[in-house]
Structures are given as C-alpha cells and as structure tokens.
C-alpha cells in the first residue's frame, strides 16, 4: 500500500493505524518533507509527488492500493498557496499517471472534500453525490478539488479494472486537526456575515481514519467501496450554535466588509482565509450521507454535534464559556425577587428571551 501526504497529522495517523490491519503487508509512506511524527514502522520515502519520480517509487514498491491524501487546503509549514495548488493538481496528475502505468494497482482512494459543491443560495439545501453545483468554485482549494476529481474520473475511465473511491469529506474537526476552519474557530472573536447563519457539518478525525480504512480494503459483504461518497457526521450545527457552544462571541459584519477583510488578511499573509471559506461561512453546506451508510456501509461514530463537542474540549475556553453563561442565567433564576412574584423582574426576562435568539451574538448577557 502506498500512502501520500503522510507528513500531516491525519496522514501519519492513518499510516500508523492501517499497519495494524491484517490485510496490509507493507506500507510505503510518501511525502515531500519528512514527517515530524513517527510512522510506526512504515517505509518512508521522501519524494515530491509533483515530480515523475513518484512513478518509479510506485513501481518499486509494487503497491496494489494507493491512498492519496495529499489534497489539502493549507500549506504545510511555510508553503505558499501556489505550491499547495501545484501539489494538489500537478501532484494528482503525476500520481494518476504513475498508477496508470503500474499493472499492480487495483485500488485507488482519493481524499476529496465537499467543497466541490460550492456554497450558493440557489443550491438545494442538501447535496447528494449527483447534485451538480449551481456555481462552480472560482478558485482556491475548492477549485483544486473539482479539478482533482475531474482527473480521477478520467483515470477511472481509462483503467476500469481499478476500483476508484472518492471520499468527499465535510469539514474535518478533532483535537489535532489543522484546517482553515479550525484556525477560524480558534479566533477569540468570530467574525460572521451579518444576516446569515450558515449550516455546517463536521466529521471527526477518528471517523476519517475509519472510513479511509474501509475504502482501502476489500469491500465487506453487501457493500461497495468504489464510487463517490459524501462523508459527514449526522446532523447540522448552525454557526451561531457553534459560537455559543464554543463560548466565543461573534461580530456580525456586512458581507462586503468580510470579503474585504478576508482579502486584506490574505494579502498580508496572516492566514489563508479564502473566498470559498467566506462563502461557506455565509451560505453553509449540508450533504446527504445515505450512500455512505447504505452503499459504503460506514456509520460514523461521532455526529456533527459530538464532533464539535470533542473539538471544543480540546480548545482553550473562550471569552463566554457556555458553563459561565448558564451559571449566570441560573443566578438570575435564583434571585429572590423572582420568587416574590413581583411584576418588575418579569419584563427584562421576557424581553431578553425575545431578543436573544435573533441576535447571533451573545449580547443578551
């Protein structure tokens, strides 16, 4: 088995885990930079998948399964956006070219993203694997994934004997994940778009590893693991719910201001807060996971809410921890005046109740 993108946390975890499976004899781990974490006895080969040398590595390893995890949105260390795009697109092309030449390859797993659907107000509320996006992503990581999937479809046509599995992951969260959304949620105050409350879906790191294992092995009885699958935890969280559960206040800004601030931050190189990220945080995205359950036979251990709870536990407490907010409300409830039956304390409570759910920020307290 050959795994790319192992210098990242997720790739490293997958390599360590997959070696314990009895079906796996040998794991060849590939990345352009040596990983900082250990790979649990896998053979690490330092090669850049953008170079044709990957074909030689694949031929020498004689791998029958290729797991391509090097499709990512953020640069590792100090890379630029251009090099990330090159790794995503050119790297995938080189890897697919190598696979096409290798007679041994029987199975190809691609880590893609639900970013391929874009986020637009004119889209249906829930995307299935066959929903065509109304507005194709214009750039950034989302466009990379669209192009990568295009090349993978071409490869699947040319090599019908290879089982190709494209896994479209929702936003990956977890104690060790490093995605743009994680850095967004670590901000002390969350800027949001005024008048929009996007629906978000998360998938837990542990579930990502498990579903990659299902896709990389022979399918279990009654399931099929070639094709395209949406992978996401059950349920939906609104951004306002996320911020409240995280205990971080929100600052609603006008959409043009957010776009402008995003491009400013990008120009200054502080973080990669890309336009498609802003679109996600404006319109949100929810995918249908019936195929994942019924065809792929995978049931995630974590729902969206549980994934987020697990993520929150690993985060430093925010400015308005939910526990403190709840305690404050309880203190108001315990005020003796409220039990005296006077009409005075009733009014502030009622007005607060009415107004609070409508303001996305936690200003009521």
């Amino acid at each position: 088995m050959l795994v790319t993108g192992v210098a990242r946390q997720l790739g490293g975890r997958f390599v360590r885990r997959i070696q314990r499976d009895p079906e796996v004899d040998r794991v060849v781990a590939v990345d352009a930079v040596p990983p900082e974490h250990h790979l649990g006895g896998a053979d690490f080969i330092q090669t850049d998948i953008r170079q044709p040398s990957i074909a030689r590595v694949l031929a020498e390893s004689g791998a029958d399964t290729v797991v391509h995890m090097d499709v990512t949105g953020t640069p590792l260390g100090s890379g630029s956006r251009a090099s990330v795009k090159e790794t995503n697109v050119i790297g995938t092309m080189q890897l697919l070219g190598a696979c096409q030449k290798s007679p041994n390859v029987k199975r190809l797993v691609i880590k893609s993203s639900t970013n391929v659907y874009g986020s637009a107000p004119k889209d249906p509320a829930v995307f299935t694997e066959t929903t065509p996006p109304k507005s194709l992503p214009s750039g950034g990581f989302a466009k990379d994934t669209v192009e990568v999937e295009g090349y993978v479809r071409g490869f699947a046509r040319r090599r019908p004997d290879v089982a190709v599995c494209v896994l479209r992951f929702a936003n990956i969260l977890g104690p060790t994940a490093d995605t743009p959304l994680v850095s967004y949620f670590s901000l002390p105050v969350l800027p949001t778009v005024l008048g929009y409350d996007p629906r978000l879906q998360f998938v837990h790191e542990d579930d990502v590893i498990d579903v990659l294992r299902i896709a990389a092995h022979e399918p279990a009885r009654g399931t099929l693991n070639s094709g395209t699958f949406n992978i996401a935890g059950d349920g939906v969280l609104l951004l306002s719910q996320c911020s409240r559960r995280l205990g971080r206040p929100t600052v609603p800004l006008l959409l043009p201001a957010v776009t402008w601030a995003g491009s400013l931050v990008r120009t200054l190189g502080m973080s990669d807060f890309s336009p498609e990220q802003i679109r996600l945080l404006t319109h949100g995205r929810v995918v249908d996971t019936v195929q994942m359950r019924e065809t792929l036979g995978f049931r995630p251990k974590y729902t969206t809410a549980q994934t987020f709870a697990d993520f929150v536990r690993a985060q430093a407490p925010g400015l308005l921890p939910p526990g403190a907010v709840a305690a404050a409300v309880d203190r108001i409830a315990a005020l003796p005046a409220l039990h005296g039956g006077h009409t005075v304390p009733k009014d502030p409570t009622r007005t607060a109740t009415k107004s609070s759910p409508k303001t996305p920020s936690q200003s009521a307290n």
Partner: protein
C-alpha cells in the same frame, strides 16, 4: 395578570371559535406542557377556590370548544409549570383534560422560570436544527408568537377545511400567491400549525431571492422554509413533512391589482411530478384577502432591474409615504384547504409523463380558482 388573560376569551366568543382558539394557544407555549402536570394540579386546587368567580366562564368556554377536543383546554395553563420540572421534562406531552385557572404568583414565577430555561438553552447553543436549518424551538416559542397577532388581530384569518390535511405523512399544499410581499405563505404556516389537531408544521418552499437576502434567509431557514426545487421538496415529502408551495411564484405575487384573484400559469408543474414520485396527496389551498393588502397599481421596472428584484411595487401608499406606506391594509382573510387529490394510484413512470403532469396541474389550478371565486362571492367586504 392572569385574569386579564382569561376573561377576554369569553367576550371574544362572538368572533367565532376559529379566531378564538389560537388566542388561547399563544399563552400556551405549545411545547412544554405535561411533565409538571401533577404539581400544577395541586397548586391550582388552591387557585381555583380564589378564582371561583371565574369558574363558570371557563366551564362555558370549555363547552364551546369541546368539539375540538378537551386537549386544547389544558394549554392556557400548561405553560405555567414549575421551574425545575420544566427544565428536565421539557418535551413529553402528557396532556390531561382538566380545566384549571391560572394562579397569579405561581403562574408568573413559572413563566419566568420557563423563559429563563429557554434563554439558557439558547445562549449555550443547546438546541437542535434539522438538515434544512429548521429551528423548531425558536419557531414555536418566538417566531410564531410574533406572527400570531398579525394573523389573529390584523388579518383575522378564517380557516376552512383544515380536516383535509392528513394527520401524518407527507402532503403537498398548493396555494395561490398574492400580495406583493409573501405574507400569505407565513399566514398559511400559522393557520396550519394553530388549527390542525396535530399542530403540524408547514414547510414552505420559497424563491431563491429569499435565500440571497441577508436576515431574510436566516429567518426563512429557521422557520423551516427551503428553496423551491425538486430535490428539497422531494426530500421533505420523503421525511413525511407537510410541504407548502405556491407555484405561481413571482408571476402571482407581483401581478397588478387589476388581475387580482386570476391565477397565473403554474410554472412547469414540477410540484405535481414531485408529489407523484413520493405518492403524496396534493391539497389545493385558496387564500382570499391577501390580494388587497398592497394594491399594486404600478411597477417601476427599471428600478427593480437596478435593485435586482423581480418587481418594484407602486401602491397608493408606497413608496409615497415612505415606511408608513409599507404597512399592509387590514383586510379580512379566508384560507380554505380543499379536497386532497391523491397521487399514489399512478405507476412510478407517471412522473415522467408530460400530458399527465399538465392534466393534474390544470386540475389543481381549476380547483383553486373555483374555490377562490366561491369564497369571493361569499365575502361580505374586503375589510370585514
């Protein structure tokens, strides 16, 4: 406080049970009943003695609405249950048929506690939304209570034929669309929720413009609306939801005043094939009164194009009087749900048959149009 709530009901009775029943519901907070019933009963026992004078009124009243089920009788009180129980027992509904009188202090205290429990859940994000972003708690507790006065007091909506809506399972309600602003959809949502014995929630399908506009899109999603497309409609019907659609779209809502109550073309009849695929019955719905809320005498097309909206209405008051001109006229509304048209007798490939689609679309359209004319003939005046 409690007296003020109870006594007017009796006086209101002349307005008819339809307008009256929801009035009671409002004070109910339909969610959190049950649970604390026992405790409430005990507390009320004392209260009833004090409130002896009010008793006959309440009894008479309960007789008047008995046909709607004694269940409703609990609701005015149901909201006022003790704090602790409220927090723990929230969602189960074990309704009993006893009538009770609200007790001043205990009632207030419970309401405050209920409000605080709600506030606490909202502030800590401890609530659920579905895949479409529908926030049932917020809709029931806050948004519906904001719409209800408009529904009851302003437009005085009269609902007919609510029994045509099934108690469970998916169904597609098809209604005419009018009134420049889509208030008719919102009123239909309140009508279904407040009058249906199961308090069913109507999931409306809205134009894409709704989901482009800030704030509007957020509220629409939380009210359970979603984009009018075959995917979303099919998914909701599959989940057994009650889906509301207004196939006339902008052609209906933005038509000039002179064409009022003339149904426009029903799109391509996509709603029929969606209902057919899911085997869901189609319930035609006619809304009278919405046409006159903003009599559109002109349409500033250039301005509409500049603003990117389908029409810019000119009414006798808007935009001449500024924001004041945006206040709708207080017309009297009637919403009639018609006989369901069953669709589950057709073979699966019927959904692809264009002739059948056009026939069924015409059948629905005719039925709505006929009912509209009938209701218009019966109507005494636009405003009363």
């Amino acid at each position: 406080m409690a007296d003020a709530k109870v006594i007017p009901f009796d006086d209101d009775r002349s307005r008819g049970a339809a307008a009256q029943r929801p009035a009671r519901r409002r004070s109910a907070g339909s969610r959190r009943k049950g649970g604390g019933e026992q405790a409430a009963v005990r507390e009320q026992a004392g209260a009833r003695e004090q409130a002896g004078a009010r008793e006959p009124g309440a009894v008479r009243e309960s007789g008047a609405v008995r046909e709607s089920g004694a269940v409703r009788e609990v609701q005015p009180l149901a909201g006022r249950i003790p704090a602790q129980e409220d927090v723990h027992v929230t969602r189960e509904n074990t309704e009993t048929g006893a009538e009770r009188q609200p007790h001043d202090e205990a009632g207030l205290e419970r309401r405050v506690a209920r409000g605080l429990a709600f506030l606490r859940r909202r502030l800590t994000g401890d609530y659920e939304v579905d895949d479409f972003g529908y926030d049932e708690e917020l809709t029931d507790q806050v948004l519906m209570s904001l719409l209800r006065p408009v529904y009851e007091k302003y437009f005085r909506v009269e609902v007919k034929g609510i029994e045509n809506i099934p108690a469970e399972g998916g169904a597609l309600i098809v209604a005419n669309h009018s009134g420049t602003l889509p208030l008719d959809g919102l009123m239909m949502q309140v009508a279904v929720h407040d009058h249906h014995p199961e308090n069913r929630h109507l999931r409306l399908l809205a134009a894409d413009l709704v989901f482009v506009l800030p704030v509007v899109n957020e509220l629409a999603r939380k009210l359970g609306h979603t984009l009018a497309c075959a995917e979303d409609a099919g998914r909701l019907l599959e989940q057994g939801e009650l889906v509301g659609v207004m196939p006339e779209g902008f052609k209906g809502i933005g038509k000039p005043f002179g064409e009022r109550y003339k149904l426009q073309r029903f799109g391509r009849g996509g709603f029929v094939s969606t209902a057919l695929r899911q085997g869901a019955p189609i319930i035609p719905c006619s809304i009278v009164g919405a046409e006159e809320i903003y009599p559109m005498i002109g349409n500033a097309k250039t301005l509409a194009r500049v603003l990117g909206i389908p029409y810019f209405p000119l009414t006798p008051t808007f935009p001449w009087l500024g924001p004041l001109g945006a206040v709708p006229l207080p017309t009297k509304w009637t919403i009639q749900f018609g006989e369901p048209i069953v669709t589950d007798g057709y073979p699966p490939e019927a959904a692809e048959d264009p002739m059948l689609m056009f026939n069924l679309t015409d059948q629905v359209r005719e039925q709505i149009q006929h009912t509209l004319y009938k209701l218009l003939v019966q109507r005494r005046s636009v405003f009363f």
